[in-house]
């Protein structure tokens, strides 16, 4: 079992079908869910699942399904289009995460969808003990944005 950073293959297909909208205004609703090291996530992942999702060792910082992301919009520099999100912070967090999944809950104007977009591996377990667990997204540009299409 492992978590591997990748753009989900199903997302590539759905993107050509016009089902995902990352625009800062009027775009779809994307969420970020955290998983432990027992999760098996990668390019073949198609949907969000609660399997191996992070649970709180104490407190209520993390909620199943993850946090709703704030879209940073879609940019284009040269031949590279990109999109990004703002940072996510869990306060008074007590849990261990090994990776995350970005998924769309309003794919194609539908509701309550679970279509996965990207898998992000943290490179190891990251633990917070009644502290702050912060996921800092990269700069929203053609070279560092979380999702880039060149």
């Amino acid at each position: 079992m492992a978590i591997t950073s990748a753009i989900c293959s199903s997302f590539k297909q759905e993107l050509l079908q016009g089902k995902h909208n990352f625009a800062s205004s009027g775009g779809d609703t994307f969420k970020l869910a955290l998983f432990d090291s027992n999760a098996n996530l990668g390019a073949a992942t198609t949907d969000y699942s609660t399997s191996e999702e992070v649970t709180n060792t104490s407190g209520t910082a993390y909620t199943a399904g993850g946090e709703t992301l704030t879209r940073s919009g879609v940019g284009l520099t040269g031949t590279t289009a990109f999109t990004d999100f703002t940072d996510v912070t869990y306060s008074s967090a007590s849990f261990t995460a090994n990776g995350a999944m970005i998924y769309n809950t309003t794919t194609g104007t539908a509701s309550s969808t679970t279509d996965s977009v990207a898998i992000i591996a943290f490179g190891g377990d990251k633990t917070a003990s009644n502290g702050t667990f912060k996921i800092e997204f990269p700069a929203n540009d053609a070279t560092a944005a979380i999702i880039r299409l060149a």
């Binding site: 950073s5 079908q17 016009g18 089902k19 539908a110 667990f133 996921i135 990269p138 880039r148």
Partner: protein
């Protein structure tokens, strides 16, 4: 009972005491207060007033006497009896005819004849459930004995609807097919000009909502020229056909090898900051790290012979 002798036979003055001879002269010879004077017994005139007397017949009380007549004979004859009839002309009588209640009566009737006429019924608005009606229209055959007959063409305009693709659905419109058949013409003597068939087709518009992808297929039409059957000799005019061939530029065979376009997705990296609580109860001490230029360091060997010991907590 009257007294005829002795005391009391006369009234006072009529005779001398004890005598029974009445006086004719002197006192007492006359009645008291007569018209003649005292001692005057001469004739006297007396005026008499009417004297009236009333008589009444008393009742006679006849005691019952039994009389027994004898030798009586009675002859009786029966007369005629008359009953008087008096007509009262003031009497009037009113007669009224009462009602007649007829109970069930069986009558032997003779044949009756009735003449009846059927009226005109007036039918109000009605809803009539009608069974399906089939209507078949077919164009007849035009016979033109002596004139030029021009059959107008059949025209139909077909418009393809608008496909609206939303969400993840794809809408594929099927084509619209139309078949035209030109009728036959029987022409005995005249020139007949059959007009052509015309058809106009338009491709509809597609409204794409969201990220829908809609592909429009082309519109195809197949037309064929009908046949003309001539049963008699006709004075047909010549048939002309003009065709012009466009300019063709000689183009060598060209093989175009198209290669697909690819795009590369990249996933960025994120920084994770996970903190634990700092225990403020310990006597932690620290010293500033020197930022001077005399710091020296050596690279840590990455070989496999590295050894280390845990730092005491």
């Amino acid at each position: 009972m009257s007294v005829n002798s002795g005391w009391g036979r006369f009234t006072w003055g009529q005779a001398e005491w004890g005598e029974d001879t009445t006086l004719k002269t002197g006192w007492g010879a006359q009645a008291w207060s007569g018209d003649g004077g005292w001692g005057d017994l001469s004739d006297q005139t007396i005026s008499l007033t009417g004297v009236s007397a009333s008589f009444s017949i008393g009742s006679v009380d006849v005691p019952d006497v039994i009389i027994t007549p004898t030798s009586f004979e009675i002859t009786l004859s029966q007369g005629e009896a008359f009953v008087p009839v008096v007509l009262d002309t003031t009497l009037s009588a009113t007669f009224s005819v009462g009602s007649l209640t007829v109970n069930d009566v069986t009558m032997g009737l003779t044949g009756q004849q009735v003449t009846a006429a059927l009226g005109v019924p007036v039918v109000a608005d009605m809803t009539v459930g009608m069974t399906g009606l089939d209507l078949t229209l077919s164009q007849g055959t035009a016979f033109a004995p002596n004139e030029t007959v021009i059959i107008s063409g059949q025209e139909i305009t077909l418009t393809q609807g608008t496909a609206i693709g939303s969400s993840s659905q794809e809408a594929d419109l099927t084509g619209i097919a139309a078949t035209f058949t030109l009728g036959s013409i029987t022409v005995p003597n005249d020139t007949v000009i059959v007009s052509g068939l015309s058809m106009e087709s338009q491709i509809g518009s597609i409204i794409g909502l969201g990220g829908a992808v809609a592909n429009l297929t082309g519109i195809s039409m197949t037309s064929s020229v009908g046949s003309l059957t001539v049963e008699e000799g006709l004075g047909l005019t010549g048939i002309s056909f003009n065709a012009s061939l466009g300019t063709i530029t000689t183009i060598p065979d060209i093989a175009v090898g198209l290669v697909g376009q690819s795009a590369t997705f990249s996933v960025g990296t994120v920084n994770i900051f996970a903190y634990g609580n700092v225990d403020p109860g310990q006597n932690n001490s620290y010293s500033n790290v020197s930022t001077g230029t005399n710091n020296s360091y050596s690279n840590v060997a990455t070989g496999s012979n590295n050894s280390y010991t845990d730092v005491a907590a």
